[in-house]
Every structure is written in C-alpha cells, then in structure tokens.
Symmetry: C2
Subunit: 143 residues, 2 copies
DNA sequence: TACAATTAGACTGTACACAATTAAATTGCG
DNA sequence: CGCAATTTAATTGTGTACAGTCTAATTGTA
C-alpha cells in the first residue's frame, strides 16, 4: 500500500496546509480590511506604526520580515493615503524614518474590531489556537 | 499594563506567524527546488501530476486551491519545460486536460529527497509537526 | 585624510495571487 | 428546437514577494 513516492503526495505535506491556511486567512481578512481601505500587507505595516509611531524603514522591514523591494511600494502607498510620512534622517541621510500621521492614528480605532472578527472566522477552539501559536513561533525562530 | 489596543499588536496576532512561516518554508525550499529547476508553485503543481498523471485543469485548481489566473501561467511554463502537455478534452472543448510527460515523470525521482530535507530544516520535533498538521487541516476545512 | 568596505533604500526582473471580465462551449428549460 | 444561463479557461489589472543590482551615504582603516 505504501510506496516510496508517498512523501511526495500533497496530502502528506506539512508545507502545503501552511501555505493554504496562510492564503486563506489573508483572504478572510479582506472583507474587513476593505472597510478601512487597507490590504493585508498595508494592515500589518500600520500595525507596526500603531505600536511604534516612529520607526526606521529598516526596522520596519525586520519586524515584518519583508525586504525593501516589497515594503518600499507598500509604504509609498500608505504615504499617498496620508497615513504616514517618509523622511530622511538628519543624522544619517541613508536612513528613512517612517512616522504615523493623525489620520493613521485615527485608523487604529476603526481597526479595533478586526482581530475579534478574525478569531471567530478561523473557528479554532482556544486550545488549538494557542498550540498553533506556540508551534508557529518556534518554527519562526528556526527559519 | 494592558490596553484596548493590545489585540492590534503584531506579537498578539495568530495570522502573522502563519503568514511568516508560510513564506519562510517556501523560501527554505528554494535551494532544493532550484536544483530541479522548479519554483514552489510549480513543484506543488507537479505533485498533483505525480499522483494523478492526467487531470483536468479545473480539478488541478481545486486541489491546489489556486484560481485559473494563477495556475494558467504556471501550467504554461511547465508545458514549455516539457514536463506536461495541455490538451482540450474531446467530450467538452471547454475543459483543458493536463497530462504528465515522461520527462515530468522522471523528475519525480529527482524530487524524492526533498521532503526529508525540508523536515530537517523546520526543526520541529515529530509531535509538534503532527499537532501543527492536525490543526492546519482543521483550519483548512473552516476556510 | 584618501579610499575600500559596508550599509540603507530604491529599482528591475521574475513569479505568484486573486478579483473581475471576457469568450467560447455546453446545458437546461420553455 | 432556440436561447438564456452556466461552465471553463484565459486575460487584465492591482498588489505582493524576493533575488539581484545600483547609488548614495557612512564607517573603518592604513
């Protein structure tokens, strides 16, 4: 019944459900994020600024685990929406400082209901959610 | 210590580690997939054909949870690499039948070592890996 | 102090990923 | 039978995502 190719079956992969769930969750966010006019990537970028209102672009890349090629256009779009400003640092002209605006800060309150809505939609019981969180955190450290 | 905005912190999200691990695993595959000349998306598409050597395009989309806009170019690239053929069904001209070639079948043996290499790289103990798999599967059904 | 090495962002090219639309083929119903 | 509704891929447009490259600014060192 078992053959040497079993390890190549989609159903036996750990990576595929991970990849599918990641896309699934991001798309589940869409209706809620549409209401506040953000994409998922823009949302997590704003999340960084909701926590630290001023941060260097480089640090932002590190927190989000995104490279400059991805984050540069995202931050420019957020700037064009008036949610943040981009300025070169006085001490080091290479460094780009990203700062939240009043409008960006105001959006925080609009986003407040989203995490609860998302928790419902995954339909995981709290124990599974906690386990998942624990294992994914461990995995992140190894990658 | 706790404020109402805690739920909007990146560290308190379940989605973000999921999204980060998904990207992390896919990028961990890269060196191994480079050796056989496939991207991750191309790899999972070939996985479907390694299991079912002939399948309709529509079914393939369903198995991979990808829509036609994503999979059409992927399958065309795999065709150009000579790993599969694309043919319209005789019974229903709308249906595209995707069939593995000898070259595609041969690639299966080259890919055989990859899953084991990936299991090492995630560095999860078997118990955690099994738990993760179980929870992600449950989540997939709910999404 | 010159100048090599490093660092920070931006840019280019390739590859997804999905929503929305389109076109062709087929089906179903009056 | 005739035509509206449905189905299947393909296409278009927007938005990531990352490798590789480039430029400008800064740092380290002889």
């Amino acid at each position: 019944m078992k053959d040497k190719y079993d390890c190549l079956k989609l159903d036996n992969q750990l990576c595929f459900p991970l990849y599918a769930c990641s896309k699934g969750i991001v798309s589940a966010y869409k209706p809620y994020l549409d209401k506040i006019g953000l994409t998922y990537t823009q949302y997590i970028a704003m999340m960084v600024l909701w926590e630290d209102e001023e941060i260097s672009f480089k640090q932002m890349c590190g927190r989000l685990l995104l490279d400059s090629g991805t984050l540069t256009p995202v931050v420019k779009v957020l700037e064009s929406k008036g949610l943040l400003t981009r300025n070169r640092s006085k001490e080091d002209e290479r460094t780009l400082t990203v700062t939240i605006t009043d409008k960006g800060r105001a959006l925080k309150d609009e986003a407040l209901g989203i995490p609860a809505k998302m928790a419902q939609c995954s339909k995981l019981d709290p124990a599974d959610a906690a386990e998942l969180y624990r294992i994914l955190r461990k995995m992140m450290e190894n990658l």
